[in-house]
Symmetry: C2
Subunit: 142 residues, 2 copies
């Protein structure tokens, strides 16, 4: 990692509005998408000005790979999952962010992608907080 | 890479029907999606039985990262691009495959995802072959 990860970083306002913060890992802020239809994490590298994955330097890119894999494994520990979906789109919110979503056969968008599908359904606050706590319990694992 | 990459590998019939082969890189078969609406590569690790990215071993995972980045850079050399989209879904075709797509503002699916959007438009064969040749010209770069 070059420099201090996090210096000058500001989370996009739209991402902030649609998510709850789970944790800061070494590179990424880990967010839970506030959409109870899909167990859905978003990883945002805490470095200003990033748009594409290939804007990362080599060490950061390797760390993003590690943290993406960790998010995939983590989601499977807290939610039933028939297929993991991973995506970096950024067509609407340009700040680099990686989606990791646990999909179930027959879920609200199956077999299509979650992005742009239907209307988000926010969690009940208590359920969202409980899920965030379960996700945070993993934070000790590298 | 553990074992001989490619041994026992068979490309999913649906992927084969929808694409043209560009090259075999160290880990992945590189395919051009036969949809003239979007410059679109698909990387398929040549190892049987893979479904999720985290089914790869550590060395293969690192190589997939390298080859995904290479595909992103390659696409930008052959096509105008406002945003790269990268995705591993596999909800329909379970064989592990990674999409890398060059998006333009105002393209046929903008700003939504390309997956499941509208009707694919196959290339004219001469145009497809010319694009494949341009993509292959990169093959010497690691």
């Amino acid at each position: 990692m070059s420099g201090d990860p996090g210096a000058g970083f500001e989370l996009d306002a739209r991402l902030a509005a649609d998510t709850a913060v789970v944790a800061d890992w070494k590179l990424c802020r880990v967010l839970l998408m506030d959409d109870a239809r899909f167990p859905w994490l978003i990883l945002v590298p805490r470095k200003p000005g990033l748009v594409e994955i290939i804007d990362l330097d080599d060490n950061e890119r390797l760390e993003l790979t590690r943290e993406t894999d960790r998010a995939m494994r983590l989601l499977r520990t807290v939610a039933p999952c028939d297929k993991l979906n991973v995506g970096a789109l950024g067509n609407i919110v340009r700040q680099l962010h990686i989606h990791v979503v646990a999909r179930r056969v027959g879920d609200a968008a199956w077999p299509g992608p979650v992005w742009g599908a239907g209307v988000p359904q926010r969690y009940e606050p208590a359920a969202r907080n409980a899920l965030v706590e379960r996700l945070r319990a993993d934070t000790g694992q590298a």
